[in-house]
Symmetry: C2
Subunit: 447 residues, 2 copies
């Protein structure tokens, strides 16, 4: 196959090797995959017949991987803020979900999330929510890479009555997606405090059999850990360990409460951690000890969490916050340097999802998931250090182009596979519907 | 005088009273001042001859006040990152400043900062840097409100040889600005560890005489406090207290290291604190105890710090970080709620600069310093809560219009008083000059 696309940029940041910045280079794409990373002039000369995109003031990097979100919750963005996690969940979010979540809600909320994510340079997201088949279908249609969670939680929802039905529906989705090139699955038991041992055991067996990751909230708050210790004498992580869940297939999200022995155990067992700094700060949950985890050899990915807790899906801002909070939490300004933050949001994200052979860096053979960021903005000038500028100064509005598997999804900030006007109208309709219905007992209507 | 401008918006956020959101309201402007805040239809009917700007999807709010920056340091953005404060200052920033800072550097760096600030909704900044007369002139020409620091530091710079010359030049600038409607001065002794007692005493006497504020870095790091205790037996704040500097005229910047008795003393004396959360995180300096200060009655403003340490002048992101870090530092998700963060970035900023009678809220009689933010973006839809959306989800690229004293500076994101192409070319030239000259001893050339 010959080259189909050549994207040349002022700077190419391949993420591997870490810290590398290639000036005036190009990524050569054949179909869905990266064929080469070459000096731009050479790429142009070698591949005259390919489509050429030249980005004179831009950094070109691997697509950002949002390693933990609840995409459809965009529709609840800003509904309840400035509250502690359990009050927020039990008195606001869970009742709102019970009231409003439906197939139509997930449809429109996911579309809104896809628009926001693509415009912000996210090319892959790891989702945990109800009606994952809807999320999967929309991501696939929009050309966005996704890992959709086969969610399990010990209470009923509009999607499933009990753990058995959650798992059955999840497994049916897993089968339905087996030929999808972009969308895969992970088991997504909600959290230790909402899923019983028997269900977690079944998840472990199934995850081993099907070779899919497990995606779970773990040690999000001190209260969660204290309650478990009081009720069972054990910290949740010890319980997951006893259940055989600690391993390279586990993407453990949040992890703000970790003791040194637990960090060693995570490293030993190969667990991947997903850090959601803005959500943890906003809910005052604590700070994941990122520098200590990295020093121990634990890969730490970055997630935005859902837009009801963050309140956005802005991975550039999230990776900046990860760098800043990582330094503060470690008491060391050299902790989580810029290149490490960028790796966390790309290659470590891929690792958390078991996709490091496919995405996360600009390496021949990997999928052509690419993002261009225009650094020719007063906020990122002058460019003394490209990676610093990207991590500490750039904002999502500077993302100009996005490709996933060689397909263009965003060009000069225009969405090519999503209808922004339609999406905004749907979001506004839900805003009005929820505002009008707040507190009323009627069923949610679909659009 | 009759109304000259009527700006109507989907939502008007006056900041006073706190948390208020007025739907479909308008700000009526007469010349440089706010005449009224009225329902939009009424404002249109009453003032048919004024210029009308209608913003259908926008929030209209007081201009953001950046209460601490070093504007010209934009030219050093990203030059040295991921380093502790003292290494960063002593081995990188101070040598770079000794090498490069000149009138031309301050000219071009300030222009770049003005472009970035106006595009991000900042209408007033409190600056501390060399050649403040250059900063003052450019701010005035661009129509941006500024408080320029009469900087004093116990070592020579390209601007002044010693404390005496710093103060003489500062006082000359103060006189020169006495009729400027937008630009005022503050004394700006750099920090307790860089300014001797005698100079601080003179600053106090002069500040009292001239009735101008004092703007100073205080208790930025634990090391700074520990070194002072070791050398003198006293914490820097106690020294400033003994020198008579604690009072409503002091804007004490950073303040990451505070004991409960110190917080009480700040409240007693009326000191204003300026919080720079991203800079403090990036340099691992610590977290200002914002919630505790506010509970004690100390007004806390927000500053971005200079772009060499932050690395941007993005006040929307900074106020978001202030809310998030405030919750984390207090261990309380209800701390620093959205409306408080917005007040910190507007009215409390005005208070820190002694300008609360002039700016900081949309109240008749105050200056018409206004910012419009377009909330019709996938990242801020749906709008369940306007202030939440603004604080937790909006980004600077959504700032569409800016007015200062009734004069339009930004319209549909176009800068009206600054030449962006020229500014970017100047910034790029400095980038090239610094890259080529790093380590060389020659004098910097002006553009």
């Amino acid at each position: 196959m010959s080259a189909t696309l050549v994207v040349s940029a002022r700077w190419v940041i391949p993420v591997e090797p870490e810290g590398a910045v290639l000036e005036d280079h190009a990524v050569v794409v054949e179909g869905a995959r990266i064929a080469a990373v070459l000096p731009a002039a050479e790429a142009r000369a070698r591949h005259p017949d390919a489509e050429h995109v030249a980005l004179a003031r831009h950094a070109l990097l691997p697509g950002l991987v949002n390693a933990h979100t609840h995409a459809a919750m965009t529709l609840l963005r800003g509904l309840a803020d400035d509250l502690p996690l359990m009050t927020w969940l039990r008195e606001h979010i869970w009742p709102a979900e019970a009231r409003w979540v439906s197939e139509a809600f997930v449809h429109d909320g996911t579309l809104l999330a896809l628009a926001e994510m693509v415009r912000g340079g996210t090319t892959c997201f790891n989702d945990m929510y109800f009606f994952p088949e809807v999320t999967a279908r929309l991501a696939s249609q929009a050309g966005v890479r996704a890992v959709v969670g086969m969610i399990v939680i010990d209470f009923p929802s509009a999607w499933a009555r009990d753990a058995g039905e959650y798992l059955d529906k999840g497994l049916a989705l897993h089968d339905a997606l087996k030929d999808d090139p972009l969308v895969t699955t992970a088991f997504a038991p909600h959290a230790p405090y909402t899923v019983a041992d028997g269900v977690l055991e079944r998840v472990r067996v199934l995850a081993d059999e099907l070779e899919v990751p497990v995606h779970m909230h773990v040690h999000e708050t001190a209260a969660e850990v204290a309650e478990a210790v009081e009720a069972t004498g054990r910290r949740p992580l010890a319980r997951l360990d006893a259940l055989g869940l600690l391993g390279p297939g586990l993407a453990a999200v949040h992890m703000t409460q970790l003791e040194p022995a637990e960090i060693r155990r995570l490293a030993e067992t190969g667990v991947r951690v997903v850090h959601c700094p803005q959500s943890n700060m906003k809910l005052a949950s604590g700070a994941c000890p990122v520098a200590a985890l990295q020093a121990a050899g634990v890969p730490v990915a970055i997630g935005t969490d859902g837009a009801a807790s963050n309140n956005d899906l802005d991975m550039l801002e999230e990776l900046r916050t990860a760098a800043l909070l990582g330094k503060l939490a470690a008491g060391d300004a050299a902790a989580v340097p810029a290149a490490a933050a960028l790796r966390m949001a790309t290659l470590d994200g891929a690792r958390a999802l078991g996709l490091e052979g496919e995405i996360g860096s600009l390496v021949p053979g990997k999928s052509a998931d690419l993002v261009a960021v225009d650094l020719g903005d007063p906020a990122t000038e002058p460019v003394h250090n490209v990676i610093s500028q990207l991590v500490y100064s750039a904002s999502r509005a500077q993302v100009t182009h996005v490709w996933v598997a060689g397909r263009a999804l965003l060009r000069e900030r225009r969405l090519l596979t999503l209808d922004l006007d339609d999406i905004r109208a749907r979001a506004a309709a839900w805003g009005a519907r929820i505002a009008a219905g707040a507190g009323r007992p009627e069923e949610a209507e679909g659009p």
